[in-house]
């Protein structure tokens, strides 16, 4: 099986004197479903950031989708990012764009045709139960609704890898279930590799998954 992510001795930090992730070694197979857990402040978001090149490696080698991130050109990084769908912990929706346009963004960046774009957005809006909100702006939605928009955006361009940072953090049980079903669907039907940071691993999930736990800067696989 292909490996989407291979990390060797990866250390991550924001400042010179503190290390958030210390010499981590792990790999993720293509098409697998991965959960990352850990206490608040343990470095889960930081680890995700490293996977799409938003934080420089302090040390080590990190290959994502065949791209070596320790020495990557801007255009290569853009290329990689166009094939990743990210759900940010703080959503990062474009405030001056409608919900519809926000979900459309990755499709536009990937140069999809207008007809494909509109169909895809419509179907996603239906899936996250936001069809009636399509013309609204992010700040006119509740936190949970914004989170569902972020989820829809991450799925829109059928990425090879989905990175979701607490995608159900603000949602009630019903909406959470909705999100898990979407991620499960992408994983089983489209063979998308899914990596999710969460505090609660859902029990209803119908997939085999890997579980990484971060503690004191090290990443441990839990079986």
């Amino acid at each position: 099986m292909d490996r989407v992510i291979v990390a060797k001795n990866v250390s991550l930090s924001y400042t010179a004197d503190e290390t958030i992730i210390n010499q981590a070694n792990f790999s993720v197979n293509s098409g697998s479903f991965v959960f990352i857990t850990g206490a608040s402040g343990s470095g889960k978001s930081t680890l995700l950031k490293s996977l799409f090149g938003a934080i420089k490696l302090k040390q080590g080698s990190l290959v994502v989708g065949g791209v070596e991130l320790s020495k990557v050109s801007r255009s290569k990084l853009n290329f990689l990012r166009r094939h990743i769908g990210i759900v940010f912990q703080d959503y990062k929706l474009v405030k001056e764009w409608t919900i519809e346009k926000n979900i459309m963004m990755p499709l536009i960046i990937n140069g999809y045709e207008k007809s494909v774009t509109t169909n895809q957005v419509e179907s996603l809006l239906k899936h996250v139960r936001l069809k009636h909100q399509a013309g609204k702006y992010p700040l006119e939605l509740s936190g949970g609704e914004q989170q569902r928009v972020a989820m829809a955006r991450a799925l829109s361009h059928n990425p090879i890898l989905i990175l979701a940072d607490e995608p159900t953090g603000n949602l009630d049980e019903y909406s959470s279930e909705l999100i898990w079903k979407l991620l499960e669907g992408a994983n089983t039907q489209l063979e998308t590799t899914v990596i999710v940071v969460t505090h609660h691993i859902p029990t209803s999930l119908n997939v085999d998954y890997k579980h990484f736990h971060i503690e004191y800067g090290t990443i441990n696989e839990i079986n």
Binding site: G53, A54, N78, F79, R81, R82, K92, V94, E96, I109
Partner: protein, 270 residues
């Protein structure tokens, strides 16, 4: 509603810049028209011992546009009584020639001085009356007026520029966020800034339309037309084609410069 608000700040700034530019152009045109008026009424009188042809006058100084011979008949008529006909002809020949010179444009005091020097360099010309005292006062008044308008326009432009620079920081902040998010999804720089350039070009088009509308209304206003009639000049207040394209060009260039400043000021968040 939201999208209108996004556009408004740049549009207001562009409109005020275009408006003051056009006002300055109109003032310039009025002063030029008024100067032409003055030039038509202004003349220099020259006394010469010998006849000088129009061609020779043109060679003396380029400003000269028309030469009129002042007939000596009136002078002679007064002496007329006891001079016989043949003497009279002789007198006419020996009497100096008087010329009235009209100029192409209203001269500056320096141009008058040079004209006077050029004329007196001719060995037949004995006297030049340039009415420089009256001329100088009017000229200085015009220069004063033009300077006042220039200072006024400069102040308006500087204040608008300061406002724009202040706004620029807000725009920068707003667009930075969007450009960063697009970057996180792999948008290349040109695509990230395309939105901004499209927005500013649309704003430039809208603001030139607004200015077009304002000046079309102004140039058909009777009150304004009467102001110009009162000082006996006719001025093109707004040329629908020429002026419009100049203003349109200025606003496009300005907004593209602003957009470029925002793009260049964008900090890459890796």
């Amino acid at each position: 509603m939201k999208s209108i608000k996004n556009h408004l700040s740049l549009i207001v700034a562009l409109v005020s810049i275009l408006f003051s530019i056009q006002i300055f152009v109109i003032v310039e045109r009025s002063i030029d028209a008024y100067k032409q008026n003055l030039a038509n009424n202004y003349s220099v009188v020259v006394v010469s011992q010998k006849a000088i042809t129009q061609k020779e006058f043109f060679k003396i100084n380029k400003l000269i546009s028309k030469v009129k011979v002042l007939s000596p008949d009136n002078v002679i008529k007064r002496l007329n009584s006891d001079i016989d006909k043949s003497n009279m002809e002789f007198l006419k020949l020996t009497l100096p020639k008087f010329y009235k010179l009209h100029l192409k444009s209203y001269p500056s005091p320096r141009e008058i001085k040079r004209l006077r020097k050029n004329l007196l360099n001719n060995r037949f010309i004995t006297k030049v009356e340039d009415f420089s005292n009256t001329h100088d006062t009017i000229y200085k008044l015009l220069v004063l007026f033009k300077n006042v308008v220039l200072v006024f326009a400069a102040v308006v432009s500087i204040v608008t520029m300061l406002l724009i620079l202040k706004e620029l920081r807000i725009w920068q902040f707003k667009h930075n966020e969007r450009m960063s998010i697009m970057g996180l999804f792999g948008a290349p720089t040109w695509l990230r800034s395309a939105v901004l350039f499209r927005l500013s070009i649309v704003d430039a088009i809208i603001s030139s339309m607004i200015v077009f509308a304002i000046f079309t209304v102004l140039s058909s206003s009777n009150w304004i037309l009467n102001q110009f009639k009162n000082i006996d000049i006719s001025v093109v207040i707004f040329d629908n084609v020429g002026d419009f394209f100049i203003l349109f060009g200025i606003s496009i260039v300005l907004s593209i410069i602003l957009a470029s400043m925002i793009v260049l000021g964008h900090k890459e968040e890796v």
